[in-house]
Amino acid sequence: MIALQPTDDQKMVRDSVAQFAERTLRPRLREFERARDLPDDVLQAAHGMGLPLAAFPEAAGGSGLGVVTQVLIEEELAYGDPAAPFALGGPGAYGWAALLFGGPEQGKALLAPFVGEGAHTRVGAVAWGEPRACRDRGGMVTTAERSSSGQGWTLRGEKAYVLNADRAQGFIVFAQVDAARAWEGLGAFVLPCDAKGLRVLPRLDTLGLGAASFGGLALDGVEVSDDARLPLAGDAQRLAWFFATQGLLVAARCVGLARAAFETTRDYCEQRKAFGKPIGHFQAVAFTLADRNMDLEAARTMVWHAAWLWDEVARGAEGSDARSALLHSAWAVSFAKEAAMRAGDDAVQLHGGSGFMRDYPVEKWMRDAKQMQLCGMTAEQADQLAAAIALGRPIDPALVLPGAESQNVFV
C-alpha cells in the first residue's frame, strides 16, 4: 500500500527528538560551533534517548527501529543543528560497517561497547579516504600485508577525511590487500585507537559543521591479528551499499537543514519590510520560498522512500531488492544534497546583508550545507550509481566509491 504518514510510535520518537532539537540544540548552535564540540550534557541527553542505536538491529544491541525511523530522527537533529548528528558519537558508520562487512556475529561483538553505561563517551570511526590518488593503479595507497610471521596483517599508509578520528576508541580501516585486483582487492580491519604504530593526525579546520571533528590517521606498520579483518569488505556492491546507506542518513540531515533554513527565511521575509511591504510579498522572493518549499517536500519523501526500501530489504520482504534500494538512495542523496545547498544559499540571499553576519544562523547553514555535500557520498557519486543501475551496468567502484580520483568524502 502507499501511505505517507509515520506510525504513532514513529511520531512519538520524532516529536521527542524534535523537542530536544528545538530546546537544546538550536539555541546553542553557535556555542557548539565555537567550542568545536558538543558538551557532555547534550551527549548524555542524546544517548539517553537512545538516538545513536535507534536503527541498529536488536540482535546487535540496537533498538531495531529501522531506517525509516532513523531518517525521521536525523531530520529533526539536523533541524536543530546540522552539526549535531555528526558530533553525537556512538557507533555511527563504524557500527554500520561492522554489521555489513563483519556479519551479524562480529557486528554484534563490535557494537557491544556502545551499549549501556557511559556509552555516550564512546565513539567509533571508519577510515576510508586517502590524501592522494594511487599513481599506478586503482584502489588505495594504504596497504595491508601479511606479517612476516605469516600470521596477522601489517598496515602502512595514511588515511584522511575521517569523522571523529581524534575521538574514536575504535577504527575500521580500509586498505589494499591485493594490489592486482585494484578496487576489488580491498580489506577492512578493526583497530583500537591505541594500536602500536597508529597515529591520529591533527584535526582539520573545515568550512562548515564546526562542532564535528574531521581528521586522519597515519599507519606506520600497524600489526593486527587475522580476526581483525572483516570478511565481507571485498565486493564493490557491498561497499556501494555501505556508502549509499551512509549517504542516505546525511541526505536526511540535508532535509533537516533545508527545513530550518526555509522556515527561518520564510519568517524573516514575513517580518522584514522594504518598499512598504514585507519582502515576502514580492513575487521574486515569494517564488524563491515556494521553490525551496518544493525542494523540501520532494527531498523528504524521496528519503522516506529509500529508507523504506532498505527496511524492506532488511526484513526480506517479498519483491524487495537491494538494487532498487540503491537506486532510490542515490536519487535521494543527490536531490537532497543539492536541495540543502540551494536552501542555504537562498536563505543568506533573502536575508540580505544580515544573512552575511554571524548574528543570524543562515550563513552557518550555508556553510554546513556545502560541508554536508562532502559527507557520506557526493551527489556526483550518487548520480553515477543511479545511472549504472538504470543502464543495467555493473557498479564501477572508481565512479561510485569515494576516492582521490572520484571525490573524497568524509566518512
Binding site: A3, P6, A298
Partner: protein
C-alpha cells in the same frame, strides 16, 4: 498509519495492464495520430469496450473521473481513488498523452458537475456515458477565454436570465474536446464588476441555439487531441442547465467550482507530465544501451551518466510530490499547496527530461519516425507547465499558503 511506498495489488495490476497496452497497441500508432491530428473513433471504441469488459478502474484515468457521485471518504480511502488515478495516468501518458486527452467520457467536465451539479443534473449529464457502444461521447470544460487565461477571474463571457433561459455571449478558447463534446461546462459572468460573486457555470449541450464551434487550433504538440474555440452568440441555455441551480450561487460557489476542479486535476496533470517525461527518460536509457558499445569504456560515459541521473531523479522528485498530493486527497485532507507543488515540479521536470533526452541522443534524438517519438514528446510536453495553471500560477498558490498575510501580488 504508516510509511509505505508499494502500490497495492490492484494498482500494480492496473499499471501493468496499461503499460502493456501502451507499449504494444498505443505507441505504434502514436506518430500517425499526431500527423493526422486525431485518433480514429473505432480505435477509441475498442478501448472503451476493453475498459468496460475489464470493469474496474482498468483505464483508471477515464473511470476515475467518470463517476456521477462523490464517493464517501471511507470508500475513497479504501479504494485510494486519487492514487489509483494518477498511477494509471502516468502509464497511460507514457504511452501517448494525446490519447489520454481524447478518451471518451466527461473528462474535465466531470469534476464540476459532480461537485456542484444537482442530483438531477448529475444523473442527466453522466448517464449518457454509460453506454457508448454505439456512439462515443465527450464532456468538456470551458473556462479560458482569449482575454482570460491564468487570470480565471477575468472572464468576460456574459450571461443574463431571460424567462426560463439564460442568454450567453462570448468566446472560449483552447477547449480540449470542446467541439466534439456532448456538453461543455461553461463559465460566464453576470457582471464583471461583481468579480467572483458574479460567476455562473452552465452545462451547454451540443446543438444549443447560438452555440457554435470556432477554429480548431494548430498546436506545437498534443496534435492528436482536439483544441477548439467555442462561440456563444445569444446562446439560449435552459435554466435547468445552470450548474447547481440558482440557490447554490448565494455564495461564491461559481468560482470555487472552477478552483475545486483544479485542485482535483492538478495531480492528475502532474502524473501525465511525468508519464511523458519518463517516456523520454526511458528512450534515452534505451538509446544509450543500443547505440553505445558499453562493453568498452565510453569516453563521455561519466557525463552521460550524470545527465541521465539528473533526469531520473527530477522525475522521481515530481512523482513523490504527486503521490503525496493524491494520497492527501484520498485521506480527505486539504491538498491545495501539495497539488500545486506537484504540478509545478512535474511540468518543469518533464520538460527538462525531454530537452535533455534529445541532448543525450544527439542529432538522432531530433528525428521523427516510427519508434522515434522523442521529438513528439518534446512537442507534447511544454503545455503541461501551462494548462491547469502555469508554473507561475502554481507558485502563487504555494506562496499564499506559505505566507498567510499574502493576499495578492
Amino acid at each position: 498509519m504508516t510509511i509505505e511506498f508499494s502500490p497495492n495489488k490492484r494498482q500494480r495490476e492496473t499499471q501493468a495492464m496499461i503499460h502493456q497496452f501502451a507499449e504494444g497497441i498505443v505507441r505504434p500508432e502514436s506518430l500517425k495520430w499526431d500527423r493526422e491530428h486525431g485518433i480514429p473513433h473505432d480505435f477509441l471504441r475498442r478501448i472503451v469496450m476493453m475498459a468496460q469488459s475489464m470493469g474496474s478502474s482498468a483505464l483508471g484515468v477515464n473511470r476515475g473521473s467518470g463517476e456521477a457521485e462523490e464517493v464517501d471518504l471511507e470508500t475513497r480511502k479504501k479504494r485510494q481513488i486519487a492514487l489509483t488515478t494518477i498511477l494509471s495516468a502516468e502509464e497511460m501518458s507514457w504511452g501517448d498523452a494525446g490519447l489520454l486527452l481524447c478518451l471518451p467520457g466527461p473528462g474535465l467536465g466531470a469534476p464540476p458537475v459532480r461537485a456542484s451539479g444537482t442530483p438531477e443534473q448529475r444523473q442527466r449529464f453522466f448517464s449518457i456515458f454509460e453506454d457508448m457502444s454505439q456512439e462515443l461521447r465527450w464532456g468538456a470544460y470551458a473556462l479560458t477565454e482569449p482575454g482570460a487565461g491564468s487570470d480565471v477571474s477575468g472572464i468576460r463571457t456574459s450571461c443574463r436570465k431571460d424567462g426560463k433561459h439564460w442568454v450567453i455571449n462570448g468566446r472560449k478558447c483552447f477547449i480540449t474536446n470542446g467541439a466534439r463534446a456532448s456538453w461543455n461546462v461553461v463559465f460566464a459572468t453576470l457582471d464583471p464588476s461583481l468579480g467572483r460573486a458574479g460567476h455562473r457555470a452552465f452545462v451547454v449541450e451540443k446543438g444549443t441555439p447560438g452555440f457554435s464551434v470556432g477554429k480548431i487550433e494548430d498546436k506545437m504538440g498534443l496534435r492528436a487531441s482536439e483544441t477548439a474555440e467555442l462561440v456563444f452568440e445569444d446562446c439560449r441555455v435552459p435554466e435547468e442547465n445552470l450548474l447547481g441551480g440558482e440557490e447554490s450561487y448565494k455564495s461564491k460557489e461559481g468560482f470555487m467550482t472552477a478552483m475545486k476542479t483544479f485542485d482535483n486535476t492538478r495531480p492528475l496533470v502532474a502524473a501525465m507530465a511525468i508519464g511523458i517525461g519518463r517516456a523520454a527518460y526511458d528512450y534515452a536509457v534505451g538509446f544509450v544501451k543500443d547505440h553505445y558499445v558499453l562493453s568498452r569504456p565510453i569516453p563521455r560515459y561519466a557525463a552521460l551518466a550524470e545527465r541521465l541521473a539528473r533526469i531520473g531523479r527530477q522525475l522521481e522528485a515530481a512523482r513523490m510530490t504527486t503521490w503525496r498530493a493524491a494520497w492527501l486527497a484520498d485521506q480527505g485532507e486539504p491538498n491545495a499547496r501539495e497539488a500545486s507543488i506537484c504540478k509545478a515540479m512535474a511540468g518543469g521536470a518533464a520538460i527538462r527530461a525531454c530537452i535533455e533526452a534529445i541532448e543525450i541522443c544527439g542529432a538522432e534524438g531530433s528525428i521523427s519516425g516510427e519508434h522515434q517519438l522523442l521529438e513528439k514528446w518534446f512537442r507534447d510536453i511544454k503545455v503541461y507547465d501551462i494548462f491547469e495553471g502555469t508554473g507561475q500560477i502554481q507558485r502563487i498558490v504555494i506562496s499564499k499558503r506559505l505566507l498567510p498575510d499574502l493576499k495578492a501580488f
